[in-house]
């Protein structure tokens, strides 16, 4: 194993620990605003994972869309729906033990399923020679008629509908 591979593995473990640890804090912490902050840390860990997977465009999109827009919306919503900073009362509902069991069962089931698949321990496929700019390839794939232009356009219509719907729902009629 070369030094570069070891560095990659260390990076993976750090970002995995960051992602999972802060994800646990998201669901466990009492103060909602801190849960939102832990969510940001978790999303950042996922961005690092994308970097390890050579998906540079997705790293940036993860930061712009998730950290820059979605998480800030969460913080905004938390600020708008609370009278003061202290979150009173229990933050988990009565059946949280059952929920934890369901979560554990899902994890066990998923791990069992994928571990019985033959490609489980596969190594990374080599980046095909001649790929100059993967971002350009991705852009072409998104707008080529024989590839993904239809899902792309449908997604944009969905975003427009969500934009209008969100404005309509949250609009204060007075």
């Amino acid at each position: 194993m070369t030094a570069e591979q070891i560095i990659q593995q260390i990076l993976f473990f750090i970002s995995a620990a960051l992602t999972l640890g802060s994800a646990v804090m998201v669901v466990a912490t009492r103060k909602l605003i801190q849960a939102a902050l832990w969510l940001i840390v978790s999303l950042f860990g996922v961005a690092v994972l994308y970097a390890l997977l050579d998906a540079s465009f997705l790293v940036v999109v993860q930061v712009v869309v998730y950290i820059g827009a979605i998480a800030i919306l969460f913080i905004f919503a938390v600020m708008l729906t609370q009278r003061d900073q202290r979150d009173k009362g229990p933050q988990l509902n009565k059946s949280w033990v059952l929920a934890a069991l369901v979560g554990l069962a899902t994890f066990g089931g998923l791990t069992f399923l994928v571990s019985s698949w033959t490609g489980f321990g596969a190594a990374a496929a080599p980046i095909p020679a001649g790929t100059v700019d993967m971002v350009a390839d991705l852009g072409t794939a998104l707008v080529s008629v024989d590839q993904y232009v239809l899902p792309f356009e449908v997604a944009s219509v969905l975003l427009l509908a969500a934009l209008i719907g969100a404005i309509y729902v949250a609009y204060n009629r007075k």
Partner: protein
């Protein structure tokens, strides 16, 4: 295997950029105060050192020795974290900017950019969108309603203007056919993009003023309304960090504007003397910063609802139209010859005039309805 000399080169280049921004911040405050004073027929700071050149040092010493206050029942961790989260993005933005081509230094080919990555323009977008957090969290954690209102205002403002900012990045990416900042600069060898995208450049400059919370868009820290807004509870070094972030963002955003629209490091004789690159960047940045100070001295703060209206109802549709115009112009130029690229500035100036006319008509109507 990673080359040790390469790592050393990166470290040195990062340090140079950081110190450049720190020094730039210190002297930008002096620059702004002197220019503002001249415009208001005052003298400005001129006591500490020759022409007041030691004033930033005196200010720094004062701020370091001030007492640090943390408000009662504030969220302490976030309160301390917020100024740091404001400074870091302002500094990190500068790493993808090319300050020149290559120079020979100690027998090595050295690129005059810290990290010229292939998604540079998207990186700028990403870091700019992270920059909101410091302000929001400062407002939230202060446990003060004025601070919270300042934080909320700035969140809404920065998110709204980010859309127009991203779309003006799209304009440049379309023209240069690349997301890499060095290629964007190289694409301006024949002509600066400000000539081909005059309206786009103006929109970009307006939007960046809003993104860095500068006058006339300095609602989040409006002294008269919010008692300094999100940083009203901060003192000492923590306040200094906010101050530093604001001025660093001004510098960095000017460097970005120069890179995207004003030819970056390009200028006469750049091919023969690559060392001139940083000098050209500096000159253009100082010109833009002077413009920012001039705007602050000239324009009053605009009202908050008008600010949001400007972002959503004027700038966003205008820049969407510009994207359409630019894409069409490039297609036409590809199909029917290169001279048709001039349709882009012509049509976009028409669109700009149309926008100004429509805004003028709507304001006139409101005014007449009031009378």
């Amino acid at each position: 295997m990673i080359d040790l000399a390469l790592v050393l080169e990166w470290v040195i280049k990062s340090l140079v950029v950081i110190f450049m921004l720190l020094g730039g911040f210190a002297y930008l405050t002096w620059f702004e105060r002197r220019i503002l004073a001249r415009m208001q027929t005052r003298v400005g700071p001129n006591r500490a050192g020759w022409q007041g050149l030691l004033q930033p040092v005196a200010d720094a010493v004062k701020l370091v020795f001030k007492e640090e206050l943390i408000p009662a029942r504030a969220d302490k961790v976030i309160f301390v974290l917020a100024p740091i989260l404001t400074v870091v993005p302002a500094t990190v933005l500068a790493v993808v900017i090319p300050f020149g081509t290559q120079v020979i230094l100690f027998g090595r080919q050295v690129n005059l950019a810290v990290a010229d990555i292939n998604v540079g323009i998207l990186f700028l977008m990403a870091v700019a969108s992270v920059a909101v957090y410091g302000i929001v969290l400062a407002g939230w954690s202060s446990n003060n309603k004025f601070a919270l209102m300042g934080g909320m205002r700035s969140t809404a403002q920065m998110i709204s203007y980010e859309l127009a900012l991203g779309l003006s990045f799209v304009l440049v990416a379309l023209m240069a056919d690349s997301l890499q900042l060095s290629e964007i600069v190289e694409a301006q060898r024949t002509m600066w993009f400000v000539v081909l995208q005059p309206v786009g450049a103006i929109v970009f400059l307006i939007v960046t003023l809003a993104e860095v919370n500068r006058a006339p868009f300095d609602m989040p820290e409006a002294e008269q309304e919010l008692a300094a807004g999100f940083h009203s509870e901060y003192s000492g070094m923590k306040f200094a960090l906010f101050f530093m972030a604001e001025y660093q963002k001004m510098i960095v955003i000017s460097i970005i504007a120069v890179t995207l629209f004003f030819g970056g490091y390009l200028g006469p004789f750049i091919g023969r003397f690559p060392w001139l690159g940083p000098v050209y960047v500096l000159g253009k940045v100082v010109a833009l910063l002077f413009g920012m100070v001039w705007i602050r001295a000239t324009l009053p703060r605009i009202r908050y609802d008008r600010l949001m209206d400007l972002g959503w109802k004027v700038l966003l549709p205008l820049v969407l139209g510009l994207v359409l115009i630019t894409a069409t112009g490039i297609l036409l130029a590809d199909e029917f010859g290169n001279s048709l690229v001039w349709s882009i500035p012509v049509v976009s100036i028409l669109a700009g005039f149309l926008t100004v006319g429509l805004v003028d008509r709507s304001l006139r109507r409101k005014f007449n309805a009031l009378r």
